[in-house]
């Protein structure tokens, strides 16, 4: 392979409030190679590729493309240079034809020239060696076909560097083979590719070199031939633990929650239990079905099959108010869209789930509402001038505490935390950890979903691992390690493929 560098990232850094998404990343991409980026959720892959597309402006560092230096990209520039990105969420218009999608944004004359569009589309398909009718509606295609349309679109724009963000995640085995054939063809044509995937076997099959990202840093770049699976996993997870996690005192053998053979929302045959005073983690990659499971347990989404027992008694959850009545609380993953009512006050938000109980024949008792709100503002140390201040003006950490207050105010015994510290600064994180420990010490139980490995490992007494909607295994306190978790995930994913 000729080792000409087509793209070089030097010292690329991007900070968000409370987190460094990319920290001094140095990366050379050779012309014509397939270069894989691996790393856990939140390792900085997305931010990195968004810097390439111009969707993210790096704070520091430079991007050198074919010898020319740029401070940052913008979407138009990166397209002109020949950088195309196929995101997990495809950017196609369902109600237009394949050909129209491929030529979207192109101007030729003032009328729609289907003949020209079709020629362009056919030429692109020919180049990647597949057959597809350009007159078909994109909405009628399978995900795999839509992906190929995206790739054809990139080809027709004269792509030099194609970035594929977890392209195989939604595909069947046969479709994956098809995609790999296309990738091989593209490689022969001299197109450089950056490939992102969690699936080890695929990584070893297609890539020439691999770069491991961890906590926003580029850890190591290796030739695929010179490494193996366990080395990669160790590189991905090998980090020093920096956070401290609070001590816990409550121990019991009584079970608070038992889920048996749960099916639904893409999950199948999931069983787990949580004891009183226990914090149980739910690990897995994005899209492993963790949030879906949590929502089913809470009653927010229908469970097709399976039983849920609280305190040994079976509960039937048709909606969220059933869930709350059964003593379950959910702190949802998307704070702003699912957790809080942004333009309402702290008092409203804190009591919205229990306001019925604070009412007499339908009329709200405003004194009681204020008492409850004040109690939790004090207890959780929510920083706000008064209880009627609108939640939208609070910081992320305080907003999260308001969501917590709302759930605690319903006096639930099982709390499900879905990504409780995402986008929250370090100080507030520590506070949330202490609150969680306090809850567990009161004999309540917690199910913790987190993509933050350190948090998951530090907080959990036990961890269940989900992969692709199935239970991949369970690790007891003594045997929990990041390496074990990643191994379990990748084993389960390979089994799934067979």
């Amino acid at each position: 392979m000729d080792q000409k560098v087509i793209l070089s990232l030097q010292g690329l850094t991007k900070r968000y409030p409370g987190v460094i998404a990319n920290n001094n990343i140095n990366l050379d991409i050779y012309k014509g190679e397939i270069h894989t980026l691996v790393g856990e959720n939140g390792a900085g892959k997305s931010t990195l590729i968004k810097s390439l597309s111009g969707a993210v402006i790096p704070d520091e560092g430079k991007i050198i493309w074919e010898g020319l230096e740029y401070q940052h990209m913008n979407p138009k520039l990166s397209r002109e240079l020949g950088i195309e990105i196929v995101y997990q969420e495809l950017c196609l218009v369902d109600s237009l034809t394949v050909a129209e999608n491929i030529c979207l944004g192109e101007k030729k004359g003032s009328l729609v020239d289907y003949k020209y569009y079709n020629t362009v589309a056919k030429a692109a398909f020919h180049r990647i060696g597949i057959k597809m009718n350009p007159m078909k509606m994109v909405g009628d295609l399978t995900t795999a076909q839509q992906q190929l349309v995206e790739i054809a679109k990139a080809i027709s724009k004269g792509v030099k560097l194609l970035v594929l963000d977890e392209p195989t995640a939604p595909l069947t085995n046969e479709e994956i083979e098809g995609l790999f054939r296309v990738m091989t063809t593209l490689k022969e044509e001299g197109v450089t590719m950056i490939y992102i995937s969690h699936r080890m076997d695929e990584i070893f099959r297609v890539s020439d070199r691999i770069t491991v990202l961890r906590d926003g840093e580029s850890i190591k770049t290796i030739n695929t031939a010179d490494t193996n699976r366990s080395e990669l996993i160790n590189l991905m997870v090998g980090r020093q633990l920096t956070e401290s996690f609070p001590e816990r005192t409550y121990h019991s053998n009584e079970k608070m929650l038992e889920v048996e053979h749960a099916y639904g929302m893409g999950d199948s045959d999931i069983s787990l239990y949580i004891k009183k005073g226990e914090i149980v983690g739910l690990g897995g990659l994005l899209g492993a079905g963790r949030t879906e499971l949590a929502r089913m347990i809470y009653g927010a989404d229908p469970m097709q099959k399976g039983t849920v027992k609280i305190n040994g008694k079976e509960v039937y959850l048709k909606n969220t108010s059933n869930g709350i009545a059964a003593g379950i609380g959910l702190i949802p993953e998307d704070r702003k869209r699912q957790g809080v009512l942004l333009n309402f006050g702290i008092d409203w938000n804190t009591t919205i789930s229990c306001v019925k109980k604070l009412s007499h024949i339908g009329f709200m008792n405003f004194d009681k509402i204020a008492d409850v709100a004040k109690k939790y503002v004090n207890k959780l140390n929510i920083a706000a001038p008064n209880i009627s201040v609108k939640v939208e003006s609070l910081s992320g950490g305080n907003q999260q505490k308001v969501v917590l207050a709302k759930t605690l105010a319903t006096e639930s015994n099982l709390l499900i935390f879905d990504e409780p510290t995402r986008g929250i600064d370090v100080g507030a994180k520590q506070e949330i950890y202490h609150i969680m420990a306090d809850i567990a010490n009161e004999g309540k139980s917690i199910l913790l979903i987190s993509s933050d490995m350190e948090e998951l490992l530090g907080m959990s007494d036990r961890i269940y691992i989900l992969a692709e909607g199935r239970m991949a295994g369970c690790l007891e306190k003594g045997e929990i390690s990041q390496v074990r978790i990643m191994e379990m995930i990748s084993n389960a994913m390979e089994e799934e493929k067979r």
Binding site: P17, Y298, A300, N319, T320, S321, G323, I324, L330, P332, R337, Q338, G339, V340, L341, L342, N343, F344, W348, I352, S353, V355, K356, L358, S359, G362, F363, M364, E392, S393, S395, K406, T410, D425
Partner: protein
């Protein structure tokens, strides 16, 4: 933000209302009289009542396009019963209100079952209710009502206090108390503010959605009875422009189409502004059509002002966030 600006932002409705009253008092001789001012209240009593209902639906993030023909249908059903059935007036009033509740229930159920925006659902039911009211009445109007019924819209207590205005005040208070004092009212704000968050907070959003429509339509039925009584006729085309007037008043009163905010006092002021404008323009001798133009212009200005307020709110939030970030380093 300057103090003056803040005051204007907060009290723009009363300011506009006072300005309109001053303006028409100066340019016409007959505007500022007890008789005319009472008249404005009587003319708008039903509008206020219906608007309270629509406000309920709009705060919940919906809208009711069928209001005109809900009123029409209630009017002809009540009218026919009054003219021919010989039932006691009280019974007929109860039947009319139950009919209103049923129409609202249908609006709500279509919305949640078909998972469409209430705009679409009620646009369809508007046509259906219109059709039914014409079929049921045979395109006729009903009249010759008992005195007890006519009293609702026509009689004055103590010779000066119109019963319709008392009803208006009562319905206003009911709406106010329901939205501000009951937990159901809070649920209405919550599902308008963020339906998914409300659902995850344990609120039965489908029940609240249907409930908001039922309550709204009860208000609309009362409005219809008030107008039917005042006009002395039951007719399918009783209030064809109610949909425009009520929704305009809500928008003017600061309810956004996305829901989650709004208060009934502002709705009341908005109806009064529109009422004063149309009364004043009549006194000036302007035609109905030129009045339409003016009302439309007022609405555009109201929307522009609402947008301006929203943008300055967003800017303010952005500034706040930036400052906190700076402070955090």
């Amino acid at each position: 933000m300057g103090a003056a600006k803040k005051i204007i932002n907060k009290f723009y409705l009363p300011i506009v209302l006072v300005l309109a009253i001053i303006f028409f008092s100066i340019v016409t001789d007959s505007f500022l009289s007890v008789h005319n001012l009472t008249n404005i209240f009587v003319q708008n009593a039903y509008v206020v009542i219906a608007t309270m209902g629509i406000a309920m639906v709009m705060i919940a993030g919906g809208v009711d396009m069928s209001v005109s023909y809900e009123m029409g249908l209630v009017s002809v059903v009540a009218g026919k019963l009054l003219q021919y059935s010989g039932f006691p007036v009280a019974v007929i009033i109860i039947i009319s209100i139950l009919l209103g509740a049923l129409l609202g229930f249908i609006n709500g159920v279509i919305t949640i079952k078909l998972k469409v925006h209430p705009f679409v659902a009620t646009l369809a039911t508007m046509t259906i209710y219109q059709g039914i009211s014409f079929v049921y009445s045979g395109s006729m109007t009903f009249y010759g009502f008992p005195a007890a019924f006519k009293a609702i819209g026509q009689k004055y207590l103590f010779g000066w206090l119109p019963i319709s205005v008392i009803l208006m005040v009562v319905m206003f208070l009911i709406a106010y108390i329901m939205l501000k004092k009951t937990y159901f009212g809070r649920y209405i704000y919550a599902i308008g503010g963020n339906e998914e968050a409300a659902r995850l907070a344990g609120i039965n959003t489908r029940f609240v959605r249907v409930g908001s429509f039922v309550i709204a339509s009860v208000f609309i039925a009362v409005a219809s009875l008030v107008l039917t009584s005042r006009a002395g006729t039951g007719s399918p085309s009783l209030a064809t422009d109610a949909v425009f007037t009520c929704i305009s008043a809500c928008v003017l009163g600061g309810i956004s189409f996305t829901g989650g905010s709004g208060n009934v006092a502002n709705m009341f002021l908005s109806v009064m502004i529109l009422g004063v404008l149309s009364n004043g323009m009549q006194l000036l001798g302007l035609s109905t059509y030129s009045q339409y133009i003016m009302k439309g212009v007022v609405l555009v200005i109201a929307i522009a002002f609402d947008n301006y307020q929203k943008y300055s709110h967003i800017k303010e939030l952005a500034n706040q966030t930036r400052e906190t970030e700076k402070a955090a380093g």
